[in-house]
Symmetry: C2
Subunit: 148 residues, 2 copies
DNA sequence: ATGTAAATGAAAACGATTATTGTTTTTGAA
DNA sequence: TTCAAAAACAATAATCGTTTTCATTTACAT
């Protein structure tokens, strides 16, 4: 959160412009291709670094999956997940079935609204993140996977 | 959804057992390491394939990020996202601010419950998926990115 | 027992991202 | 102004998780 000395270079201006032109949350690759038309010599790494820096400085917002790895669950019932930033584990959010159902109802009604506006909703993901009971309770125990 | 001719082979039985032993949504790698102790010659691809097949046949559940790529957004306000399985675009869910706020309230109160149970909640992700207005309205227009 | 489809293991290929290298700008103090 | 230090650049190689390929083995219905 320090006062930044980020330079809004020519490349970054173009990247910012093209990001806005593209709209709808483009991938890095999509931005790269758009920018490349105006700056044929730009490199992919510059685009990555610039988007990173621009988001760190509040110009844009980064959307990244909490966790990119595939995981598997032997629990087939409906439940929500909690991602612990400290130990990297994914636990089931500590909710009773009635509470989970409550959320589901609320979200289902929102889905109806979305469908009224021309979309077809097939499902949703809701996950929480923070520190799990184990890590929040005792002292941190050096989780192997926390990258952020 | 056809009647499956999946074979519950020796390897798959072990994989299933170890998945249950591990609990808490292990990554493929974690399963691999556990299984390897009992089947030293097993290969990573077998683990990947088996977990895939087991989930397709309802024995377990796969947790995979809707989209693994990083994306960037010039909209910094609070809003939810909609992932279109057809064209691969991520759009803003078509909700008014009041509606979004409504959800946020509901989820905030759930967060409180989770915190009451020893967790620290720093945030959450809620995203919807299905077909966007454009793809649901007209006929499909051969989206480049739909992989699932 | 035999034939066929499915599953396996090893290795290579893959796509997205990050790190490294050497070079070019830019900045701002002397 | 000029010049060293910092920042950004382009190109490339390296990494990570995952998928594919392919030759071999296994399961199982006939």
């Amino acid at each position: 959160m320090e006062k930044s000395q980020m330079r809004l270079t020519y490349q970054r201006k173009i990247i910012l412009e093209e990001l806005k032109n593209l709209g709808n949350h483009p991938t890095v690759d999509e931005v790269y291709l758009a920018v490349k038309k105006r700056l044929p010599r730009i490199s992919m790494s510059t685009v990555y670094r610039s988007l990173e820096v621009l988001s760190k400085n509040g110009f844009i917002k980064k959307l990244e999956p909490i966790d990119t790895q595939k995981r598997f669950d032997d629990n087939v019932g409906v439940h929500y997940h909690f991602y612990c930033l400290n130990c990297g584990k994914i636990k089931d959010a500590p909710l009773h079935e009635s509470e989970s159902k409550e959320i589901e109802e609320a979200i289902k009604s929102i889905e109806k609204v979305i469908e009224k506006r021309g979309y077809k909703v097939n499902g949703y993901t809701l996950e929480f993140w923070g520190k799990c009971d184990h890590c929040e309770g005792g002292e941190s125990y050096g989780g192997e996977k926390s990258k952020k």
